[in-house]
């Protein structure tokens, strides 16, 4: 019998037909009877005290039904780090002070969007302008304008990671290199902007449809800031039009629509415009990085010191986590005998920076991999060899931080080396750069302070054999609904079309912390597998009684066939056993539960994915223009569950990461984002996408369901570094300041020429 009957076979996503026929109903599409439309008034100033808000003219405007300001709130400073009160610093509707351009100050509900928009112009806000600061290295200085009372020198969070004897390490090093890097911001650009439809009923229940990565987080955060009981808030999110890290914090659409609906007892819909999305949600954390690295002549790593100063923006959001993770992944995926990291997250009068796909790791990987390439060049070492020599390996412990159980990095390097060789000698101004990376499979941290298991699942088998699978996880396009259904079908021994998945509704789903930090395959997957295994055990009890085998035989189910493992031909149909078992249980369907919380798995994650990416580019020396030619990735995500979904995730991550590497940026002037639209903000288009190739390296992760681990998020880590290394090999300049634009390449080429001549 085949090892697996369901997993490792490419399948259509279970919600694919709904998506290709336009039948999938997103929050953006929800329309309720009597629904009103809301718009949000936002601060035009980066830092100002609110002296007064006069909404009287707006209230009289025909078609306006209600207005809320900070005075209508409970004034709770919320945040996702609920265990740390000082890090809960964002009110969403400001009462006293605004700290970035775009911060909400009032919201209007009206009969239609146009009317609400008109009313915004009639609200008069009196501001007292305050001095503002925009750059972290400025904001941290003594005497800089201070954003929050309790944060001296605007230091929001600091992080320290250290192991080994770093000072001795540098003494032992034959070669030491220091570099500064600047990592730019990036916007998630979900195709569905943040939106919510809130409906409050006279019984005191609030129902919110929203585009989110975690209905559980939104439920709890809304209950907290609105003073409601948690389970009087129902959050529904069946389809989410992209997340990428932007949709698991409470946002202005959710909060303002809820407030308005509670005030008016009518459904209120708020959809953020693309401009609002760019200016006033969250974004990837920009970072200044200092790296000092010591190595032996033969390339053996001995010591590394890293310092990161991150542009936090106005509030903590998820930035505190990004600050830790960037420091942790700065040491990845290598063995460093000694390492020291100090991270400073600094408040600035800009849009808050937070989580975005990779969560601090793409920044770290860009700096680390760019520097390693320079070190290899100076020591005359092969770039692949230096990485191979220092690679993490199965069984390695990151001191005090993490245990690496499965690790296919060496195999990945082998595959990429083979591909690089196969390209032969490249034409002039062409180059191949590579970067290695690792990533986590769900975070272990619980600063949100959930008392529930991290993931939970319920399996119910009905009399016709159809299986109801209830999960708390969120599918935002990454395909977790399909992955989890496959895990359930495989474990239970049925087919994918026997599974009916229920998700995206806090009223009916068990708790899962949501789709972020690459949690779902491993954490929710383990909970699903446990529930399915328990349901199977119940069925097998009955089947064992029916088949009455010698007690030494074990039973299993594969492809709807319940059988003796040693004698697969001897068995019963799954359908028949289900029917009789339910009859035998006085008509009760079979119900089983599963849950997963990591215990004693280190500080960061229970498992890590690994990979190496090579990017081939061509540079026009006259203009600095970079063209992507090829992108090849070797990837270890443990056991593959859905090969089709995996390929899509990897290609998509690469496109987003290439954007980060060379086209996407959020330039600002005095805190104002200059390109808050899809004309001036350059996401990769189809014409810019190179051919991609993916090699899977098979490993088995003991902690993952069927050996599976993270896939899809980690792939945003290597691309920027691979791009910078490709530019270095193509034209001999190293760009340490993202994004790698033609201007920067041209400038560096001029500089190089000047040096040569001078």
């Amino acid at each position: 019998m085949k090892k697996f009957t369901v997993i490792n076979t490419p399948v259509h996503n279970i919600d694919g037909v709904a998506k290709v026929t336009g039948r999938a109903i997103y929050t953006f599409d929800v329309k309720l009877p009597g629904m009103l439309y809301g718009k949000i008034l936002r601060s035009p100033y980066p830092h100002a005290r609110i002296k007064n808000i006069d909404a009287s003219r707006a209230e009289k405007h025909a078609g306006v039904k209600g207005i809320v300001t900070g005075k209508d709130t409970l004034g709770i400073k919320q945040g996702i780090w609920r265990r740390f009160k000082e890090l809960c610093d964002e009110e969403i509707l400001a009462r006293d002070k605004v700290r970035y351009i775009g911060e909400p100050v009032a919201a209007v509900a009206a009969v239609d969007e146009d009317t609400a928009e008109e009313a915004l112009d009639l609200i008069e806000v009196e501001y007292e302008l305050l001095p503002a600061v925009f750059e972290p290295l400025e904001a941290i200085k003594e005497g800089a304008p201070q954003l929050h009372e309790n944060a001296e020198r605007n230091i929001n969070v600091t992080r320290h990671i250290e192991w080994g004897d770093v000072d001795q390490g540098f003494k032992d090093a034959d070669y030491i290199r220091e570099d500064w890097f600047k990592c730019s911001s990036q916007h998630h650009v979900c195709m569905e902007t943040h939106c919510a439809v809130a409906s409050y009923s006279p019984e005191g229940k609030l129902t919110v449809w929203t585009s989110t990565q975690s209905h559980y987080y939104i439920q709890l955060l809304l209950a907290w800031v609105l003073g409601l009981r948690e389970n009087d808030v129902r959050v529904i999110s069946r389809y989410t039009g992209g997340g990428f890290g932007s949709k698991f914090e409470l946002d202005s659409a959710q909060f303002c629509s809820s407030l308005l609906s509670m005030k008016l007892c009518k459904p209120v819909k708020i959809v953020l415009s693309r401009e609002e999305e760019f200016m006033a949600t969250k974004r990837r954390t920009p970072m200044f990085y200092y790296l000092r690295t010591g190595v032996k002549k033969d390339g053996t790593f001995v010591a590394k010191e890293a310092r990161a100063f991150t542009e936090g923006g106005a509030y903590t959001s998820m930035g505190a986590t990004a600050l830790y993770l960037t420091g942790f992944f700065q040491a990845f995926p290598y063995v460093w005998p000694s390492y020291r990291y100090d991270g400073y997250r600094v408040y600035t009068n800009t849009e808050p920076s937070s989580a975005m796909r990779g969560f601090g790791a793409p920044q770290a990987t860009f700096c680390a991999e760019t520097q390693i390439e320079l070190i290899a060049k100076e020591l005359g070492l092969d770039p692949i060899e230096i990485r191979r020599k220092n690679s993490m390996y199965p069984g390695y412990e990151v001191p005090g931080q993490a245990w690496i159980q499965s690790c296919g990095l060496i195999q990945c390097l082998d595959k990429i080396e083979k591909w690089v060789k196969s390209r032969g000698k490249l034409p002039p101004n062409h180059g191949i750069g590579l970067a290695a990376y690792g990533f986590m499979s769900g975070g272990i941290f619980n600063w949100f302070d959930t008392p529930y298991a991290f993931s939970a699942a319920i399996v119910k088998i009905n009399v016709d054999g159809k299986v109801d699978l209830y999960v708390g996880s969120q599918d935002m396009g990454q395909g977790s609904n399909t992955t989890l259904s496959m895990i359930c079908a495989e474990e239970l021994g049925v087919r994918l079309d026997d599974i009916r998945l229920h998700m995206g509704d806090t009223d009916i789903c068990p708790v899962d912390l949501g789709a972020w930090g690459s949690r779902e395959t491993l954490m929710q997957g383990n909970a699903v597998k446990m529930a399915a295994a328990e349901a199977k055990r119940q069925l097998l009890e009955f089947a064992t009684a029916k088949l009455s085998p010698n007690i030494v035989y074990d039973l299993d189910i594969k492809d709807r066939w319940i059988h003796l493992i040693a004698r697969p031909e001897r068995g019963l149909s799954y359908y028949d056993v289900v029917k009789e078992a339910i009859r035998g249980r006085d008509g009760q369907p079979i119900i089983a539960r599963g849950h997963y919380t990591p215990h004693r798995k280190g500080m960061i994650s229970p498992a890590y994915s690994f990979g190496v990416q090579a990017v081939e580019i061509a540079v026009e020396p006259e203009t600095g223009k970079i063209t992507l030619k090829n992108c090849v990735t070797a990837h270890d995500c443990g056991q593959v569950i859905n090969p089709l979904g995996l390929k899509g995730q990897l290609e998509g991550a690469m496109a987003m990461a290439a954007g980060y590497g060379f086209t996407e940026d959020l330039p600002m002037d005095e805190g104002k984002i200059l390109n808050p639209n899809l004309v001036d903000y350059k996401v990769l288009r189809a014409t810019e996408m190179p051919e991609t190739e993916v090699y899977e390296v098979e490993t088995y992760e003991p902690e993952g369901p069927f050996g599976a681990k993270e896939a899809g998020e980690g792939l945003t880590n290597p691309t920027a570094g691979a791009l910078s290394n490709a530019v270095f090999h193509a034209v001999g300049v190293s760009i340490k300041n993202l994004p790698i634009t033609p201007e920067k390449v041209l400038e560096a080429l001029k500089e190089k020429k000047k040096k040569k001549e001078g």
């Binding site: 996503n13 998506k19 039948r23 599409d29 039009g241 693309r274 390929k647 899509g648 998509g652 189809a686």
Partner: protein, 161 residues
């Protein structure tokens, strides 16, 4: 502003609706006719999520007034399948996993449909250019390109789903 009569055929159904003349075609399709398959994701006519067929041509329905479509025939994503029988490009999208979050998918399918109608055997470059106006933030486009190639290669010529 006085409402005006718009006569329009969408997915083969003839409609007469009184609308404000400043309304965009996408607003009428979504809000008046309730066809929410067509999406919007920008306000600058740069993302392509609202692409529909207007008299057979792929058009961003946020870039024209509904009144400009007076008397026209429009096809939205809801009009691609015949009952439960999906069109070749829809089936090919499924087979290639050419969608993830699905929000750009309706517009992408329409752009691909228009291309294949005009040019049944497009090159890879021609496919890329045909969907250049459609942003997909999830897939990295290559699966979409493979899906269009699949139809062009005739994989879906016979039989239905």
């Amino acid at each position: 502003m006085e409402k005006q009569l718009l006569r329009i055929t969408v997915n083969g159904e003839y409609h007469e609706v009184y609308i404000k003349p400043k309304k965009l075609l996408v607003e009428i399709i979504r809000d008046e006719l309730g066809l929410t398959g067509t999406k919007r994701a920008c306000s600058t006519a740069s993302c392509g999520a609202c692409t529909v067929l207007l008299n057979g041509m792929a058009v961003k329905s946020c870039s024209i007034l509904a009144m400009q479509a007076e008397g026209a025939e429009v096809t939205t994503v809801e009009g691609l399948a015949e009952g439960a029988k999906l069109s070749p490009i829809q089936r090919s999208f499924l087979d290639q996993g050419a969608y993830q979050c699905g929000f750009c998918t309706p517009g992408m399918l329409i752009s691909a449909t228009a291309l294949l109608k005009e040019n049944p055997n497009p090159t890879r470059q021609e496919i890329k250019e045909a969907i250049h106006g459609n942003i997909c933030r999830c897939t990295g486009y290559n699966s979409i390109i493979r899906a269009v190639q699949g139809v062009a290669e005739g994989k879906y010529r016979e039989g239905g789903r």
